[in-house]
Subunit: 401 residues, 4 copies
C-alpha cells in the first residue's frame, strides 16, 4: 500500500541513517549554538557542514520532482522522505528541503524566466542562499486573496511596491537574499486576476524588516518569521514572475505539494511525540504502576496511534493523487489533509505533553515547540475554516453515484 | 492506492448495478412486508428471490477467500464489496455475505471436519439455512473470555451444555438451523485453553429462545438478536469443532476478517449518510439560504468527508495487512479499525440526523436504525476499551526504531 | 446556592418519597401493561391511579407559577421538582406536569379568554384530558418560523385550517382532546406577525392522525408523537388565541419555562444514568478488577459528574433569571441550556450505555430510550444550530464592559 | 445566585475601576520595561508603584479570609475579585494576591509559629518580599506525594536538606527571599506522614537556582519558574512548619482555596479571550462578511459563552462550598474545577487564537501567553488524571439516594 519505488526505498534508508548519524548529534550542537548570548540570529556553522554532507550523500533537493535539478521523486516518494525529516525541527534545511525555499524553487522552476532561474533559482538549488515568501498581510484577512492590499504599480520600466507583509518565514535569516512578493497589479481585473508576484531582492531600498514574530513564545531563531514593510520599493519589470494577474494561479499551484510536505513533516513529528509519550509512560511510576498501565494513558497512546495512521494514509493518498491527477484533481484531498493533519498533530503532541508533566511544557522536551509549530499550521496557508468551506462546496457539487 | 484486481473491479461494477436494479427496489418491498401485522418474524419472499438472482449473477459468497466454495477474493478485494453492500441494511444477506453466517462458514471451512462441512457448511454456502453464534453471556463481562460461564461437559459420547447466551444475531430467523456455542470444557486448563466450540442444532431439546433483544428501539426483525438458554442440552461428541480447548483460538481467527467486513459495511453506511446529509442540506431552506450555505452544516459535511476517507484507508490497509501478514500480523490494525470505524460512523450518522431534523430521528430515514447499528458495534466483538488496551500494549512493546 | 424556599424544600422531600413509593413500582406496572399485545395505545389504569394519589398528596400542577391554579412555585423552585420527575420517563404525567400539556396550560392561562379557559384549561388542570401542540411541519425547516405553511383562513365566522404538522407529542393518546395549531393568518404582515394560534378540537372533521412517529425505534406509546393532517378543518373564530398575528409572540413566551423544564428533566435523567453507570462499574469484573478500577471508566464517571454539575448550575441560574428578569431578560441563558443540556445528557447516557455493554443497548435498561429522548431534544424546540446563532448574535451585541 | 455581600460588591466595583485606570496603562509600561535588553529579570518600578496605590486604595491582601491581616472576605466573595484580576496576567501581584505568595501566606498564617510569622509572614503581607513553594521534583511523578525524594534530615539542632525541585514559580524574582520546601523527614512513617515542610531562606548556602524554565517558549519573566538544587542545605529546627510529618496535611489545606483562585483567574482570562474573539470577529471581513456572520465563528463564540458560564458557576459553587463545608467537604468540587476550568480556558483561548489568525499566535495579542498559562494548569497542582481518579472514587463511594 502506497509502496515506494525501489530507488526511493533505497534513498529513504540512507536518509534514516543520515538522520541518526549526522542530524541527531548536529541538532544538539545547533540548538546550543543558537542559545549562546548574542548568537540568536546567526546560523551555526554546523548547519552548513550538515548541508555539505547531505549534498555529498546525494540527499539533496529531494523535494523537486524534476530529475535534472532535483531528485526526480514523485510526490508519493518524497512524502515518505518529508516524514523522516519532519521528526526533527531543523532537518529539512539540511537536505535543502525546507519551506519556504522549496515552494519558491518550485515557482521559479515552473514559472520563472531564464534570467530569474540563473539569478535566483540556481543558488537556491545549491543551498547558497535562502528566500522568503511575502503574501500574508497584517491588516486584512489574507485567506481571502481578494483582500490583499499590497500594491505593485508599473512605473516606466519598474514596478513600485508598497505594502505590509508578515509571517514571512526565514526573513530573519542572514542568508535570505530575496522575497517573492504577492500584490495587486490590476485592481480593475476579475477578483482572481488582480494579483501578481514579483521578486524583490532583500537589499532593495525601501525593504524593511519591522520585527521578528514569535509563535507562542518561540522566535524560531535563527530563521524566524518576520513582519516586513515595503515602502515604495522599486524593482525592474523583469522581476515579474510569469505574467501580470497570474499571482493567484501561481499561489494555487505552489500550495498543493507544499501542503503535502507540511503535513508529512507533522506526521513525522507526531510519530516522534508518540514515541516520547510511550517511553515516558513506560518509565515513570505513579501510584505503584508505570503510567503505561493506567487506563487514561493507554487511551492516549492507542488513540494517538489510530489518528497518526489515518492521517498518514490520507496524506499519502493525497500525494498519490497529486502524482496521478495533478493539483487540480487532488484539490479535495489537499484540503482534507490541511484540516486533518495539523489538528491531529496538535492533539497527539498535547497528549504527549500531558504524560510528560512539567517536562513536557518546558525546554527539556521538543514538545512545546512542536506544538507551536503544529498549531500555527491550522492558520498558515489558509485557516481550517477556509478549507472546510472549500471541501463542503466540493462535496455538494459532486455528482452522487 | 489499494487498487482492486481486474477481476474484483469487474465484480464490483456488477455489484453496484445489482444494488441499484435489484436491491434498491427489493428493499422497499422487504421493509413493507416486515411491517405488516403478524409478519414481523417471517422472511419476506423477496429476500429469497433476490438471493436467487444474486447467485445466478455470480455475486455469491464473495466473502470467502477460498475459490472453490467462494469467490476467491482477497480480503482487500472483498472489503470494497462489503462497503457497497453496507450501504443497505439488508443487502449483505442477498449475496450470502451476512454476519454471523460468514464467520460461521469461515470457522467450519477452516476448522470443521468432513461431516460438519457436509451437514452444516454446504447448506450455509448454498444459502439454504442460516446460523447463529452464541458467545456473549448476560451475566458476565464477556469481553474477558475467561469470564465465560457456559459449561460444556463431556458425558459419555455426548457433551452436555448448560448456560445462558445473548446477542445471538439471527437466532430469531426461522431459517436459523444451528448455533456455534462457546463454553468452558476444561476449567483446569490455562485461561485461554479452557473454552471450546460445539455445534448445537436449534431443535435440540433444551435449546430455548428466551426473547428477542432490541437495540435502542429496533428489533432488527425478522433476523433479530436473541437471548438463548441452554438447559442441559446434549449433542454428540462429533459436534465439537477442531478440538477441546481450541475455542479461544478459533474465536480469534474468526474475528480478523469479520471485523474488516463490519467496518467496511459501516463505511458504506456512513458514505450513504453523508450523501443524505448533502442532499438534505442542498434542498432545505432556512433563514433565506439552503442549509448547505450555513457554516455549521459545511463543517458537518467537510469533517464527515475527512473522517470517512481516513477510516476507509485505514480499513483497506487492514484488509491488505490481513492478506499479507495474516490475522496475527494484522492484529494491531484490526484493533485500530474496531475502535475508529464505529465511532466515525456514529458521528457521521449523528450529523446527518441533525441536518435532517425530525425526519432524521424517525422512520422516514434510515438514519436512526443506522445509528443503532453503528453504536452497537462499539460494544459487539469487544468494547472499545478492550481494543484500546490491546493497542496500547502493542505500542509499548514495539521496538522503537 | 440556588436555595429552595422552605415550602419548596418541603414539597421536594415529599416528591422524592412519592417517587420511590408510588412511581417506582407503578412504572413497572405501566411498562408491563403497555407491552401487552394489543394494549400499546391504551393508557394503563395505574397511571390514573398514580395521578389521583399525586393530586391527593398536593403534588399537582407544580409547574404553574400561578398559585390559584397551580402550586405557585417560582421557576427556580419548580426546576428542582422537574429534575426529580425527570428521573423517570413517565413521572411528569403523574403530577400533571408533562409536556406539551404544561406549555398549553401556560398559554391558555396567559393568553386564553374566559371561554377557552373554562372549556380547555380547567379539564387540563384537573388532569381529565390531554392536549397537543401542532407547530412543526414535515415539508419545511420549521425552526425558521417564517417557513410555516399551514394556512388559517378567516371565512365568515370560522377559520379554515389546512396543512400538515408532525411531531405532535401526545396526539396518539386517547385522552388527547384538542390541539393548539400554529399557522399563517396574515401572509402580508411582517414576517413575525403572520402566524396565529387556534384551538382545534381533535374530533373536528378534517383532523386526521396520519401515523405515529418513532424516535430511534421507540414509539413512546401510549402517548406517542404523531403526524397530523388538517384538511379544510373549520373552527369558530372564538378559537383564536389572543389575537391574529400573535402566534410567534405566544410561542416565544411559551418556550422559556418549557425549556427549563425539559432541561431539568434531562439533568435528572443524566443523574440516574450516572448512578446506573457507577453501580454497574462497581459490580462488574473485567480482567481481574471491577470496571470502576479501570482508568477509562473512571474518566467516564468523573467527567459525567463534572458535566452534570455544570449543566445543573447553568439551568438553575436560568430558572432564577426567568424569575428575576422574565423570558426576554433570560433569553441568552435559555438558549445556552438548550444547547448545553441535551448534549450533556446524550454524552452521559452514552457513556452509561458503553459501561453497561449489551445490557445498555437493549430493553434491560432505561438507557436506550433515555438516549433517544435526549437526542431528540437537540432538534425539538429549535435545533442546536439556531440557538447557537442566537447566542452568538447576542454576544456580539453585548456592550463590552 | 452566588450574590456578593454588599461590602464585597463595593470592593469589586472599586477593583474594576482600578484595573481600568491603573493596571491597564501600567501593564503596558511593565511589559515594555521587561522587554528592554538586559532588563528581563528586573522588576519594573511601575509594579511597586501600582502596589503602593492598590494598598492605599484598600485593595490589598483581598485573598486572606482573616480580617485582621487581610480583607476578611469569604472564598465566594474573593472568587469574584480573582476573576477580575485574572483578566490581566500581572494584576494579581498588584493587589498582593499572586501565587505562590498567597498560598504561602495562608500556610504561615494557619500553621506558622510566632517567630515564623514575624520573620516571613509580616513582610509578605506588606508586599515587601516574595517567596517560593518547592514541592514538585524533576525526577519523579510528584502528583503521587509518596514519590517525593527530597530529604530533610534532622542533624542536631538543624535540618539538612538535599534534593532537587522545579517549577518553583517566582524563584527568579530578585525579591524572592525564602522557599517553603517539602521533603521527606520520616521515611518509616505511614505514606502520608513521611513529609514535612521547612522554611529555607534563599541565601542559605547550598541553595542554587539551576535555571529558569520556559512554558511554551515563555519565560514569564521577571518572576519566572525555576529549577532549584538544595545541596546539603542547613536550617535551624525552628524553620519546620507545624510539625514533622505534617507536610501532606498542610499541602492539602493549602490547595483548596488556591485552586479556586487559579480557576477564577482563568475564568477572567477566558472571558477576556472571548471579548477579544468577538471584537475581532466583528471587525474583520472575509468573503464579503464580518467573520461574526460566518457559522463556524458563531459556533466558536456561542460555545465559548456556554462553557465560561458553566465553569464560572461551578467554581463559585466550589467557593461557596469551601465557605460552608471547609476544604474536606468541598474536596469533590475542588477536584471538578481543577479538571474543568483549565480545559475550558484552553479551549476558549484556542478558539480566540484561531479567529485572530496570525495575530493570535504572536505577541500582538495576549492569547499565546494566556494559552500557555492555562495549559500549564492542567499539569500544575496535580495533573487532570489524578483529579479524575479522585472524583471517580468519591462518586463510587457516595451512597446512592
Amino acid at each position: 500500500m502506497f509502496d515506494l519505488s525501489a530507488r526511493a526505498q533505497e534513498i529513504r534508508e540512507r536518509l534514516i541513517v543520515f538522520m541518526r548519524e549526522v542530524v541527531a548529534p548536529g541538532e544538539h550542537e545547533y540548538h546550543a549554538a543558537v542559545a549562546e548570548p548574542g548568537q540568536r540570529w546567526l546560523i551555526p556553522p554546523v548547519m552548513e557542514e550538515m548541508k555539505r554532507k547531505a549534498r555529498a550523500a546525494g540527499l539533496w533537493n529531494l523535494f523537486l520532482p524534476d530529475s535534472r535539478h532535483g531528485a526526480g521523486l514523485t510526490n508519493l516518494d518524497y512524502a515518505r522522505m518529508a516524514e523522516i525529516m519532519g521528526r526533527s525541527l531543523i532537518a529539512s534545511e539540511v537536505f535543502n528541503c525546507s519551506a519556504p525555499d522549496t515552494g519558491n524553487m518550485e515557482v521559479l522552476h515552473m514559472y520563472g524566466n531564464e534570467f530569474q532561474k540563473r539569478q535566483w533559482l540556481d543558488p537556491l538549488l545549491a543551498g547558497e542562499i535562502r528566500s522568503g515568501f511575502a503574501m500574508t498581510e497584517p491588516d486584512v484577512a489574507s485567506s481571502d486573496a481578494t483582500n490583499i492590499r499590497c500594491r505593485i504599480l508599473r512605473e516606466g520600466d519598474q514596478y513600485r511596491i508598497s505594502g505590509k507583509k508578515w509571517w514571512t518565514t526565514g526573513a530573519m535569516d542572514p542568508r535570505c537574499k530575496f522575497f517573492i512578493v504577492m500584490g495587486e497589479t490590476n485592481p480593475e481585473a476579475k477578483p482572481y486576476a488582480r494579483q501578481s508576484m514579483v521578486i524583490v531582492p532583500r537589499d532593495t531600498p525601501g525593504v524593511r524588516i519591522v520585527r521578528p514574530l514569535h509563535v507562542f513564545g518561540f522566535d524560531d531563531a535563527p530563521c524566524g518569521h518576520a513582519e516586513l514593510a515595503f515602502d515604495d520599493v522599486h524593482v525592474p519589470l523583469g522581476n515579474l514572475i510569469y505574467g501580470e494577474g497570474k499571482g493567484f494561479e501561481i499561489a494555487q499551484g505552489r500550495l498543493g505539494p507544499g501542503r503535502v510536505h507540511h503535513c508529512m513533516r507533522l506526521i513525522g513529528l507526531a510519530e516522534r511525540a508518540l514515541e516520547a509519550m510511550v517511553a515516558r509512560a513506560k518509565s515513570r511510576i505513579v501510584f505503584g504502576h508505570p503510567i503505561a498501565r493506567h487506563g487514561m494513558a493507554q487511551e492516549a497512546i492507542a488513540l494517538s496511534r489510530c489518528e497518526i495512521e489515518q492521517a498518514r494514509l490520507l496524506t499519502l493518498s493525497t500525494a498519490a493523487a497529486l502524482d496521478k491527477l495533478g493539483t487540480r484533481g487532488a484539490r479535495d484531498r489537499v484540503a482534507m489533509i490541511k484540516v486533518v493533519v495539523p489538528r491531529m498533530a496538535c492533539q497527539v503532541i498535547d497528549r504527549a505533553i500531558q504524560i510528560h508533566g512539567g517536562a513536557g511544557l518546558c525546554e527539556d522536551s521538543f514538545l512545546g515547540q512542536a506544538y507551536a509549530g503544529a498549531r500555527s499550521l491550522r492558520i498558515a496557508d489558509g485557516p481550517d475554516e477556509v478549507h472546510i468551506m472549500t471541501l463542503s462546496k466540493m462535496e455538494c457539487e459532486r455528482a452522487v453515484v
